[in-house]
């Protein structure tokens, strides 16, 4: 069987995200954007809002569920009871969704530094963001095993 070379999805998505954030004048606008992303995030199935999918290390509750597809790509659904956190998770999902598991597992999310998210978020939120990324990478790694 000759598998097609997995498409490199992440880099263009990261560039796009950086460009989007460059358009905003100040952090209040960036937060407005995150809130919009949060509001637009596709609802998560109630059955997936379980402790097993709960991310540790967040001030608010965040759930992420993953689905593995036949082509080795992963898709995610997520939810949070805080809207900015929901925006952050939506942003991470936009980066990762429907990407090959191998690429997700080894991804270097330099864009998060570039747009200043880690520097700007409170330590709690920043740790929360890291925990979300970790959880997704771990899921990807497990799906490869």
């Amino acid at each position: 069987m000759t598998d097609a070379q997995p498409t490199m999805n992440l880099e263009p998505r990261q560039q796009e995200l950086i460009e989007t954030f460059e358009m905003f004048g100040d952090w209040m606008e960036k937060y407005e954007h995150l809130i919009e992303l949060g509001k637009e995030l596709k609802p998560m199935a109630e059955a997936d809002r379980v402790d097993e999918n709960l991310i540790q290390g967040c001030q608010s509750r965040v759930w992420i569920a993953c689905k593995t597809h036949d082509n080795g790509h992963l898709t995610f659904t997520a939810d949070s009871d805080a809207i900015i956190t929901k925006g952050l998770v939506a942003l991470v999902l936009e980066l990762f969704s429907n990407a090959p598991a191998a690429e997700i597992a080894t991804a270097n999310l330099h864009c998060l530094q570039k747009i200043g998210l880690h520097d700007h978020l409170s330590p709690n939120r920043s740790n929360g963001l890291s925990s979300m990324v970790q959880k997704i990478k771990l899921t990807a790694l497990k799906s490869l095993a």
Partner: protein
């Protein structure tokens, strides 16, 4: 209608602008905005008198205390013991030897748990702790209770109505009769809700039921006059950093006869009378509870902070803080769906406002979201459970991120209140 901020300054009141100039940190910016610091209940900022006083000591007068015969040691000892005198006077202790230096309120309560508790608590003994207690007033008792099979029971707080935030007195009286507690722990002022508890009445009732009493005074120190003899408690614990002083230093007041009967806790230098391998004898009060070299510059800073506060005048500070709280409360209640937890509007309370925003026909706003958007506008507020998880659970807020809390100190201005409310309204508009 709210009066214009400027008209609220009357000559009889404090010159807040002059007070603010004594706090260098208040003129800094955060996230490109002038800082509005509304988290003094977590830790107050420090005036120059404290900052410079500690610097002066470290730069020119430092030596170890109580030991060497040289000039610096004598001077440092005098300053350190002078701070103990000031704290004793401020708290209304009968003698300064009743003041034990600790690293803070938490350390003070742990000291009582590990000494008084170890000797006096047996299997089946009851310790009562209020539901609104800070974790620091609860967890040390849970830890000691686990060792000796004692029982830690909550003193219930009324959750709604006129007496919201107050102790359920009928239930308390019943508990005293039925459970005959060995120890009753009380909080003077609730850090989460701002309730001022009637500790004098409560201690009298507890004492009449045969209980030893400990009051957590961390939140009372910056706001209320304290008189431990009038309160009639056996122990009273405070931290300097809540009252314009440094972190890492606090005090335990204990009545002399109670402290005398307690065994030492930490062993080391300072706390001994004589040491030999055959047997060691321990020193007198207060030294038997102060093993090792203490936080000398911190103790001196603590004394200076009390001097500073007394110069402002507790009554003046309280009047100003009440005006800030009332102005903020009026404006907050105009926000749709905003609910203030704890004492009803108009009830006397400390300058702490804890609230949630749950508009009708819209999902509740998560406190963490509000805090993020406030922080981005230069407003420092606190969110979460405020180290009072049992209280948040009773209020039904444990799972929803607790409350958002703003708290005022004497250095806050009416303009800051107005700016914070504007920032809050903007945040709410973005989040709805």
């Amino acid at each position: 209608m709210l009066e214009a901020a400027a008209t609220l300054y009357t000559p009889a009141m404090l010159d807040i602008r002059a007070i603010r100039q004594q706090f260098p940190i208040l003129s800094r910016e955060v996230n490109g905005q002038p800082l509005v610091y509304l988290d003094s209940a977590a830790s107050s900022q420090k005036p120059l008198a404290v900052i410079e006083g500690q610097r002066e000591y470290l730069a020119h007068h430092h030596a170890n205390i109580h030991r060497s015969a040289h000039h610096l040691a004598a001077r440092a000892t005098r300053d350190f013991e002078g701070a103990r005198e000031k704290i004793g006077l401020h708290l209304g202790a009968a003698h300064s030897k009743e003041i034990i230096f600790t690293s803070g309120t938490t350390d003070a309560i742990n000291l009582v748990a590990q000494t008084w508790g170890r000797v006096n608590l047996d299997a089946g003994d009851v310790v009562l702790v209020p539901r609104d207690a800070h974790h620091a007033a609860l967890v040390p008792w849970q830890m000691i209770a686990e060792n000796c099979d004692a029982i830690v029971e909550p003193i219930e707080i009324e959750l709604q109505g006129e007496r919201a935030g107050q102790i359920d007195r009928a239930a308390f009286t019943r508990q005293l009769q039925d459970l005959k507690p060995k120890l009753v722990v009380l909080g003077h002022v609730s850090n989460a809700l701002g309730t001022i508890h009637p500790v004098e009445e409560l201690c009298l009732e507890a004492r009449n039921a045969g209980a030893t009493t400990l009051v957590d005074g961390a939140q009372a120190l910056p706001h209320l006059p304290i008189d431990v003899q009038k309160i009639g408690c056996d122990f009273y614990a405070v931290s300097a950093h809540k009252a314009y002083g440094p972190t890492g230093i606090g005090a335990l007041y204990g009545r002399a006869d109670v402290l005398d009967a307690m065994p030492p806790w930490r062993g080391g230098g300072e706390m001994i009378k004589s040491v030999s391998f055959e047997g060691t004898t321990f020193g007198e009060l207060p030294f038997k509870f102060e093993a090792g070299t203490p936080h000398i510059s911190g103790a001196i800073g603590f004394g200076l902070a009390l001097d500073w506060l007394n110069k402002i005048g507790l009554q003046n500070a309280q009047t100003h803080e009440e005006a800030l709280t009332s102005r903020a409360t009026k404006q907050l209640l105009q926000i749709d769906g905003l609910r203030i937890l704890g004492p009803a509007t108009g009830t006397q309370k400390a300058s702490v406002i804890s609230f949630v925003i749950q508009p009708e026909n819209a999902p509740a706003i998560h406190p963490a979201d509000l805090a993020t958007l406030l922080d981005n506008q230069g407003i420092a507020a606190r969110t979460g459970h405020h180290c009072t998880e049992p209280l948040m659970a009773a209020l039904g807020l444990a799972e929803t991120g607790g409350t958002i809390r703003i708290s005022f100190a004497v250095y806050n201005s009416f303009e800051e209140v107005d700016r914070a409310i504007e920032a809050l309204k903007r945040a709410v508009n973005m989040l709805l």
